[in-house]
Subunit: 239 residues, 2 copies
C-alpha cells in the first residue's frame, strides 16, 4: 500500500499529479521552485488505499501529513460507545494534517480507492518554516476549512433532517463540480451520509425518498443522484 515515488510521479508527471503540487488554483508547488520541489519530494511517498482502509486513527502519533491525489477520504471522530461523527469528506486537492499537534485528532479512512501523497511530518514542518509561500497556502486552506466547519456546525446544530440532506447534496455537487441536472455520484453509503449529517441511516433514506417524491431529485441506482430543481432545493437547504 506504500511505495517509493519519484518527483515526476506525484509532482508533475503527465498522468498522475499530486495536488499538493499542481492541482487547481490552490496549488502549492506552483509557488515553489524546482529545488524546493525536490526537497519536498525527498520526504514524500505515494500511498494507495482501498475502500474502508484506515489511514490512521485518532490519537495515533502524527507521523505524516497527506495530500489527496485521487479518491475520497473521510475524517471522523468516535465516542466510546461507537457513535461516530464524520467531520469531513476530502477529495483530490485536499490536505490532511492542518489541525495536528503531535497526535492525530481524528481518524481517516478511504471511502473509495484512493491515492495520496504522504509527507513525513517533522521535515514537512521544517520546510513550512523555510518556504513562506507554502505556509501561506496552508493558512489559506485552514481558513477555508474553518469557514466550512462553521457552516457545518449550523447544519448540525440547527437544521432539520430535510434541510441537512438538501444542504449536503448541493454542497457536495458544488465541490465535485457537478452542475444541476447532471448525474452526481455519491461514493459514500447512507451510513456515511448519516454520520456526516448527525442523523440515522433510516432518516437519510426517508428524506431522500421525500425529496424524490417532491420532484427535487432523481435517484439513480443506490449511489447516484440528479438534482432536478436546484433553486427549490437551495430554498429548503436555507442557502
Amino acid at each position: 500500500m506504500s511505495e517509493r515515488p519519484d518527483v515526476a510521479t506525484f509532482c508533475g508527471g503527465a498522468q498522475v499529479r499530486c495536488d499538493l503540487c499542481m492541482v487547481r488554483d490552490t496549488a502549492i508547488c506552483s509557488v515553489l521552485s524546482a529545488s524546493e520541489l525536490a526537497r519536498l519530494t525527498r520526504i514524500a511517498r505515494s500511498v494507495h488505499a482501498t475502500p474502508g482502509h484506515t489511514l490512521f486513527h485518532e490519537g495515533d502519533p502524527a507521523e505524516d501529513v497527506f495530500t489527496v491525489v485521487e479518491g475520497v477520504v473521510q475524517l471522523y471522530k468516535l465516542l466510546e460507545d461507537g457513535r461516530r461523527q464524520i467531520v469531513g469528506f476530502l477529495v483530490a486537492g485536499d490536505f490532511i494534517g492542518l489541525a495536528f499537534g503531535n497526535h492525530y485528532v481524528y481518524s481517516a479512512e478511504a471511502v473509495t480507492a484512493t491515492r495520496l501523497c504522504a509527507f513525513r511530518r517533522a521535515p514537512f514542518i521544517v520546510l513550512l518554516g523555510e518556504y513562506p509561500h507554502l505556509e501561506q497556502n496552508l493558512l489559506a486552506r485552514a481558513s477555508t476549512e474553518l469557514a466550512a466547519s462553521h457552516e457545518h456546525m449550523l447544519v448540525l446544530g440547527r437544521k432539520s433532517a430535510k434541510e441537512r440532506v438538501a444542504t449536503f447534496l448541493l454542497r457536495f455537487a458544488e465541490r465535485r463540480g457537478v452542475p444541476p441536472g447532471e448525474r452526481l455520484d455519491l461514493p459514500m453509503g447512507r451510513l456515511e451520509i448519516a454520520d456526516y449529517l448527525g442523523l440515522t441511516i433510516e432518516t437519510v433514506s426517508r428524506t431522500f425518498t421525500v425529496l424524490r417524491r417532491e420532484g427535487l431529485i432523481r435517484l439513480e441506482g443506490r449511489s447516484s443522484v440528479r438534482i432536478l430543481d436546484p433553486s427549490r432545493l437551495a430554498a429548503i437547504a436555507g442557502l
Copy 2:
C-alpha cells in the same frame, strides 16, 4: 466605542496589554521586533464594546481583523427564520478574522463588556506576508481552532443534551482556567448556551437542574456554577 491608541496602550503598556502582542504562550508580538510592532500599531485601533453590541454582521465587507483583549465575544451564524448557531465564544487572547475572505462569514457580538484591538485587514495581510513568525502564529491558531470545531461537530451531531451541557461546562472551565470546585462564571445567558449547543433554553435549564440534583454541579446565582464532581461529569461528557 472606538478611539486612537498608542503603542503602549495595547502592545505592552503596563495595565492594558493587547494579547495579539503579549498574551500567553501564543503571543504574537513576542516574536516581533520593535519596528515590526510599530508597523502593527499604525494599522491598529482600540475598540470597546458593551454587552449585546454587534462588532460586525455575517456578509459585511471584512475591513478589520480583531484580537480580544478583555471580555467575551460570541461568533454566530443565522438562518433566514432566525434560528441561530453560535460557533464559538472568544476570550482574551483569541483572534477574530482567520477565516475571512473579503466578507465576514459570521457575525460577532460582545457578550460582556469587551475591549479589542482592531487591525485594518488589507495592511494586516501585507504584514502577514512580511513577518513569517506572525503567519506561523496564525497558522497554529487556525489549527487549534479547526480541532476545536471538529470536536464541537461531534457535540452537535452525536451527543445527547446531558452530554452536551457536561462537555460545555468542562471545556469552558478549562478555557477560563477555573479548577474544579472553584466558582465558574458563565457570562452568557441560557439562550446563548442553548444556541451554542444546538438546544433550546428550556432543555439547557432542565439539564442544569438534572446535573444539580445528581450532585455534579452547584448553581450559584443565575450565572455561576461550581463543578463538584469533575470526573463523573467528564464520564457523562464522553471526555
